[in-house]
């Protein structure tokens, strides 16, 4: 995610699930590995490498696969989603990626009216915050009901990051609650995110 001075060492070794990789006293467990009885074992088939993030700490063993990473949204994780539909009480969206890992299949999410912003919650209107098609940065509030994840945008850094106007051009934010179309100069209301560079984690 962030630009750490990661020190990655590739061991020239292919490992398979259940293979013994090392001792817990020598390494941390990274993705694709697990701990049992003080030892570290592989849980995926792939290439072994060890990564040192901080010099003083133990290196983390990871098993790298050629295929894409698999994740699911968790509580408090930052997600990127696309608004699908809005009602007066909530807005439904499809979760496209978790942190910086894109999902192969979308998960359903829901932003309730009271979770759109932190202050003056009673004055929020859903249609003044989101429109279908907007790309929204949100945080997973809870795992919600059986249907969908509950998301929140009640932080300055969260909200709409990309919205297209009726003319089909991406709009430019003018304030925290307004966006302007550069072509038609049409003003539209949105819950705009104050975009933080370390939140936008895609490859440069």
């Amino acid at each position: 995610m962030a630009a750490h001075s990661d020190h990655v060492k590739h061991h020239n070794r292919i490992c398979v699930p259940g293979e013994h990789l090392g001792l817990e006293s020598e390494y941390h467990t990274g993705p694709g590995t697990y701990r049992r009885n003080g030892s570290i074992y592989a849980s995926l088939a792939g290439h072994l490498c060890s990564r040192t993030e901080v010099e003083t700490e133990l290196p983390a063993l990871t098993v790298l696969q050629q295929e894409i990473q698999i994740t699911v949204p968790r509580q408090k994780s930052l997600v990127t989603c696309k608004v699908v539909s809005i009602t007066s009480k909530f807005c439904r969206c499809d979760i496209l990626s978790v942190e910086s890992v894109p999902l192969t299949e979308t998960f359903r999410g829901m932003i309730r009216k009271e979770d759109i912003r932190a202050t003056e919650k009673d004055k929020v209107e859903v249609y003044k915050s989101f429109r279908p098609g907007d790309i929204v940065l949100a945080r997973v509030l809870s795992l919600g009901d059986a249907q969908s994840y509950l998301l929140t945008t009640a932080e300055n850094e969260l909200g709409v990051v990309l919205a297209k106007s009726e003319a089909g051009v991406p709009m430019v934010p003018t304030s925290w609650c307004e966006m302007t179309c550069p072509k038609t100069h049409d003003k539209q209301l949105r819950k705009v995110a104050k975009v933080q560079p370390h939140y936008i984690a895609y490859a440069s």
């Binding site: 292919i14 398979v16 699930p17 259940g18 849980s43 995926l44 050629q66």
Partner: protein, 246 residues
């Protein structure tokens, strides 16, 4: 025993194998592009195809998502042309439902289910040709498909069956040997940690022989593991090479 001698005086079985010999194994990983993971296995004349989808959102009214782990949904089916007499329906009968449940239990024991809460993994296995050891072929194929899909597992699961004829345990019994009515023990094992994920016995076997038969079955699982391991390693290194080239 109806005239058939399962073990000849020279110590050979009907298909010419020795008692502790597995049937010829051929396998392939990644046979389909559409599925997240897939594998094909042939153990003698038993042929099985496994596909894995997920982890994805829990769909339909089938099951409720679990808040702390992933749902593993297994479906076992036999192609209508897989047996001597054409089957009327490939799945949904009592035998297939039981088999699906066994597969589900087996893989719940080895997939790291806590990593993907509130989602679902689908494992579909189909027997294309049935010649004994269907469960074993399914487990082995599904293990390879899960590895191909990149779903974290504690260990491989390898399955092997064994029978008992004339005071001799037989490994990897074929349909002919199964259908004679002798005891058949099926074991699904995590070969590295030597834990047993599933243990099943058909017909009666004297308890004095159990240990011996179990020993042979677990040896069969480990032999199976060696073959699967070689195939997986080869697959991973080939994938790595093709990545470097492109």
């Amino acid at each position: 025993m109806a005239g058939l001698e399962l073990l000849s005086d020279e110590g050979f079985r009907l298909d010419g194998r020795r008692p502790s010999e597995l049937r010829k194994i051929r396998l392939r990983l990644g046979v389909f592009d559409q599925a997240d993971g897939s594998a094909y296995i042939e153990q003698g004349n038993t042929k099985a195809l496994a596909t894995v989808y997920g982890p994805h959102e829990v769909l339909g009214g089938k099951g409720k998502p679990l808040h702390d782990k992933v749902i593993i949904n297994c479906q076992y089916s036999m192609a209508t042309f897989s047996t001597n007499e054409r089957k009327n329906r490939p799945q949904g009968d009592r035998k297939s439902t039981e088999m699906s449940l066994h597969l589900q239990r087996t893989f719940e024991a080895t997939i790291q289910t806590h990593l993907y809460p509130r989602s679902q993994i689908d494992i579909f296995v189909q027997i294309l040709q049935a010649d004994g050891g269907n469960y074993c072929a399914c487990v082995n194929a599904a293990t390879l498909a899960i590895i191909n899909a990149g779903i974290p597992m504690k260990d491989y699961v390898c399955a092997c069956s064994s029978g008992y004829v004339n005071n001799t345990p037989l490994t990897d019994v074929s349909y002919l040997e199964e259908s004679q009515g002798g005891p058949v023990v099926t074991v699904a094992m995590l070969p590295k940690s030597e834990q047993i994920a599933l243990f099943k016995m058909d017909n009666r076997l004297h308890v004095d022989h159990l240990e011996q038969v179990l020993e042979v079955a677990s040896k069969g699982c480990k032999d199976m593991y060696a073959v699967m391991n070689a195939a997986v390693k080869e697959h991973v290194s080939r994938m790595a090479k093709s990545m470097e080239c492109s």
